[in-house]
Amino acid sequence: MLMLISVLFPILSGFALLLSGTEDRHRREVWVIATAVFTAGLAIAAVLTGYGTKTVLVRFTQTVALTFGADGLGSVFAAMVSVLWVIASFYALEYMKHEGAETRFFGFFLASFGVTLGVAFSANIVTMYLFYELLTLATLPLVMHAMNGKARYAGKTYILYSMTGAGLGFVSMIFLQYYGGGDFTLGGTLDMNAIAGSENTMLLFFVLGFFGFGVKAAIFPFHGWLLDASVAPTPVTALLHAVAVVKSGVFAVMRLTYYSFHYEAIFGTWAQVIVVCAAAFTVVYGSANGLRTPHFKRRLAYSTVSNLSYILVGVAMMTPAGLVAGVAHMLFHAVNKITLFFGCGAVYYRTHKEYVYELAYIGKEMPVTMATFAATALSLMGVPPLCGFTSKWMLGTAAMGTGLTVGWIGAGALIISALLTALYLMSILFAVYAPGEKPIHAENKDPNWLMKGPLVALACLCVAVSLFAHPLLELVSQLLGVLL
């Protein structure tokens, strides 16, 4: 029941904010923070009390129902989203002060929280599909927030890509409903006896579904929307396009691969070859493009494209170790990338600098912001002992552990991309700290604590997660029901 409330409460609260149309900034701030904190508390309470339980909201037929439940994967995802959403809310309140139409923004911002939790707490593919589509609609106004040419174009691209993905995912969903259906279980819901003889059809529908839900995970060739969407205000890019929306895509792919289809039946087939190759290609493609992109935020967006496919490489290994590695990278990348985007946004907010080559000595002007940026950049690069290294190591060993050729392809892509990642992030750090120009007299331009606080908190979270990566991942694999 708590799950249901945690899903519905922020949606209703968001719409209430929209309807009230309040222009009182203080009132809105209280409203947003209260809703975010309360919802996060509800979600975590729902995970703690309701772990393993299910609630049926509506039952349409024997196999089609709106069901909510908190299993291991959903709990991990919900917890991650809740923690980051609260932190991001503080940052957004400060950042949006100059963007206008704040009430509309925060209305949809809160509604998206509920919808994302809905994706996390869905217990079958129909429910997940519903919330997955709602997420597109709820976040569209956030992407188009500026309502200028760029933003409207980005919004249209977003909706087109998402609808394409929805179409492909829908086909896959129908197949799943036809040959089984029912609630997510690790190992799949398909009736393998009924499928016997038409395995290739199953694989085809799996590939369609993988790419369909992979649209939100920005897998090549469906990555275009994510790059255009980086015209959105930074809190949106950081929270939705590095955490909530794109991770919902990854989450949906995990649900599809491990909890709907039989991953063991896909292991070693042509379908696996296709999805691994696509993911591996995206990994390298994203990093390579990141390296050539001078636009700061867009470079980070390419980096997100690449890193999402790291997760997909892990998922596509079709082994429990791959799933755990994917979840690990999902968590660690979320913490790292949201900090990087926040840092990028803070720079834009204070100095209106958008390009990497403009950033000379910004490290001296904004020491705190850039220190958090540097720490998480090192982590994302995979510098041990920070958390990015741990998850990449797990991904690599999981890929090698399959003993398949695709495992080598995956691991090779990780290594090449790690190099490119180091290059595109280090070149930012070079520009920020040692541009080789005459040092200017630097006045402190760090933002106020409403913005700096989340950055520092996230950087500390990154270090804490790095230090306690092992207990955390043991908990995760226990929750997933997978022995490492």
Partner: protein
């Protein structure tokens, strides 16, 4: 107790790094004392560990695979060298840094690098080695870029590129090793490796792992970072870079050579090729160099070649490797001690002259006997003058080659060539040291030199520290059987060397002969090549022109074009092809659907984001487009019909 010591040694500097930053915000003097005390405590702990015997500790679950540390003779010795290096360099830093900026930042990373280095030396498995190797690589990058001058930034770029690329290739190799062997525990690698059937895969894994370690050690062809980075870093930092940090690469190579490929002939040949090329090439570069610090850096490359040759002989000699093992270890120790003195001494010269250019510091040492001793003795030691410690390790390395010639007469020709290359490289060492010595201490200074009148050139603390270290060298060199053999014994457990059948007679004629040949070659090179070709004499005195042909620079000739031009071109080509296929399809379809409509999308204005026009245009040609749609639909239906008809 020793387990606590292990963890203390590794993590204590890291814990102190932020503290030093905070103290530095308040008081610079206090911070300097604090860092000196920290490194002093580290040194004390290293000595304690040395006396407390073997130990091991594991931190399960940190960083994925868990970290493991162990202490044995070799590891303790390397840790001790690191601690001595850091302590000494910290003492030297105070004077060197008197007018420098960003010292707070520097000290933080100085301590982090110490953690990384000690972590590598004490690691019990390759995973731990790699983790700390990377920590050290990234932390020491800040030391290289410290001055933020253009040449430092360029050197730091190269350093980082080599470290990152090398590190990742090594990571791939470690993945493979882990996959093949099922363990990364250094002590069990040998057994696991001998059980592996596919030799090819093991070699691929081994060679990949080698890349990063060889790059850090400064082995050819990845030595390119070393001369520039050493020149750019502050002199005390160069001291630990050269004396200690590049030895972490040697540590990794030793793990491969004495565990995974123990007694493997082919591996030995690979290492020998690397070693011989590196030692000759580095020495040639040093002879041509006209910069004091660069000469010392190139000399480091060359000495790494000597050490690699020793490692190669360990593999080749199999169970008869006693001399090679002892020689390798002692040369690591000797090279570290020599460079830990020469680089800070160069820093002393820099503090007064503000340059390392031989043309400008010429004659600086004239009338400074203490400086002459402090620099002259290590120079002579590295050149292999009997009576100093360098002679002992070179003799052992030389004898191991001679022994192999006797053991395996079939390949005597090849190894005689190796022996002469060894003696020649030793001769070049003598030659460039002679060049430096004569330049600094014999020739007279240029008249315009601004420092010419000054008497005081260094603080008592600096010179006292250096003189204390120098005093050890003759003791080691004159009592080799007492001091050096004891040190050598420490490495045998780690490198799996047999104890020698009898104590070596270092001062027998057969051994002295090699050294004398080398020294003669050195004097000949100095007189016949350096004086006539690499110096110019005119009325103002002697000057040293840069005669090294620019085209032979591997970095600007090969690596930079490859990495900055060719590879990006290939990558961009494939990326654009892939993008073109997708975009092309989309364009084709949208052209088909929206034929006749004016487009209202602006091309990306800043090459980044496409956008709609500011004012939306009304849709035109709707009717046309509707009819067109019906035609398209008709075609689609016809195709479906045809498919249905011809399918059955």
């Amino acid at each position: 107790m020793s387990q606590f010591l292990l963890l203390f040694l590794v993590f204590f500097p890291t814990v102190c790094a932020p503290v030093s930053y905070l103290i530095g915000r308040k008081s610079k003097g206090m911070r300097n004392y604090f860092v000196a005390v920290v490194t002093g405590l580290e040194l004390a702990a290293a000595v304690l560990l040395m006396t407390s015997g073997e130990a091991a500790v594991r931190l399960d679950g940190v960083c994925g695979l868990g970290l493991g540390f162990a202490a044995d003779g070799f590891r303790c010795l390397m840790t001790l060298i690191a601690a001595i290096g850091w302590f000494e360099a910290t003492l030297m830093l105070r004077e060197y840094f008197a007018h420098s900026r960003n010292r707070n930042r520097y000290y933080v990373f100085w301590l982090l690098t110490l953690t990384g280095t000690v972590g590598v030396f004490l690691s019990a498995d390759l995973f731990t080695t790699f983790v700390f190797f990377e920590v050290m690589s990234f932390a020491s990058w800040v030391m290289v870029i410290h001055t933020e001058k253009p040449d430092a930034i360029k050197a730091a770029e190269t350093y980082l590129a080599v470290a990152v690329i090398g590190g990742l290739v090594t990571l791939m190799g470690i993945f493979l090793l882990y996959h093949l062997l099922g363990t990364l525990e250094i002590n069990s690698l040998y057994h696991a490796a001998s059980a592996v059937e596919s030799n090819g895969a093991l070699w691929v894994a081994g060679l990949l792992t080698l890349v990063g370690f060889a790059a850090k050690a400064g082995s050819f062809p990845l030595h390119i970072w070393l001369p520039t980075a050493h020149s750019a870093a502050p002199a005390p930092a160069s001291a630990v870079l050269s004396g200690v940090i590049i030895k972490t690469g040697i540590f990794g190579i030793l793990v491969l050579s004495t565990q995974v490929f123990r007694y493997d002939y082919n591996w030995g040949i690979v290492m020998l090729a690397l070693g011989v090329i590196t030692m000759v090439l580095g020495a040639v570069l040093a002879v041509f160099s006209i910069d004091l610090k660069r000469t010392l850096a190139c000399s480091s490359v060359s000495q790494i070649g000597f050490i690699l040759t020793g490692i190669a002989m360990q593999c080749l000699l199999g169970h008869h490797n006693a001399m090679a093992v002892d020689g390798t270890l002692l040369h690591i120790v000797n090279h570290a001690s020599v460079k830990l003195i020469l680089f800070p001494a160069a820093g002393v010269i820099y503090c007064t002259t503000h340059t390392f250019d031989l043309n400008k510091i010429r004659g600086f040492g004239k009338g400074k006997p203490l400086l002459m001793l402090v620099m002259g003795i290590p120079m002579a030691s590295l050149a292999g003058v009997p009576g100093l410690n360098g002679y002992v390790s070179k003799t052992l390395l030389h004898e191991s080659i001679v022994e192999y010639i006797h053991l395996v007469p079939q390949t005597a020709g090849l190894f005689t060539a190796v022996e002469w290359a060894f003696l020649f490289a030793g001769g070049l060492t003598a030659a460039y040291m002679l060049k430096l010595f004569i330049c600094i201490f014999i020739q007279s200074p240029a008249e315009e030199a601004h420092w010419a009148g000054k008497k005081k050139y260094a603080s008592k603390l600096s010179m006292g520290t250096l003189a204390g270290l120098v005093a050890v060298m003759p003791v080691m060199g004159l009592l080799p059987n007492k001091v050096m053999d004891g040190l050598a014994a420490l490495g045998r457990g780690f490198m799996h060397g047999e104890a020698p059948a009898h104590a070596a007679e270092y001062f027998a004629w057969a051994n002295l002969k090699g050294s004398l040949i080398s020294l003669c070659i050195g004097v000949a090179v100095y007189l016949l090549i350096i004086r006539p070709f690499l110096t110019v004499r005119d009325c103002t005195g002697v000057s040293y022109p840069d005669r090294w042909p620019q085209k032979l620079d591997l970095e600007t000739g090969l690596y930079r074009p490859l990495l900055c031009v060719i590879l990006p071109f290939i990558g961009a080509f494939f990326a654009r092809v892939a993008e073109g296929i997708v975009e092309g399809t989309v364009h084709l379809l949208s052209d088909l659907l929206y034929r006749g409509q004016t487009r209202n999308v602006c091309p990306p204005e800043d090459e980044e984001f496409a956008a709609y026009d500011a004012k939306p245009k009304s849709r035109v040609g709707f009717r046309y487009s509707f009819a067109y749609s019906i035609i398209l639909m008709g075609i689609g239906l016809s195709l479906t019909l045809l498919y249905v008809l011809f399918k059955g």
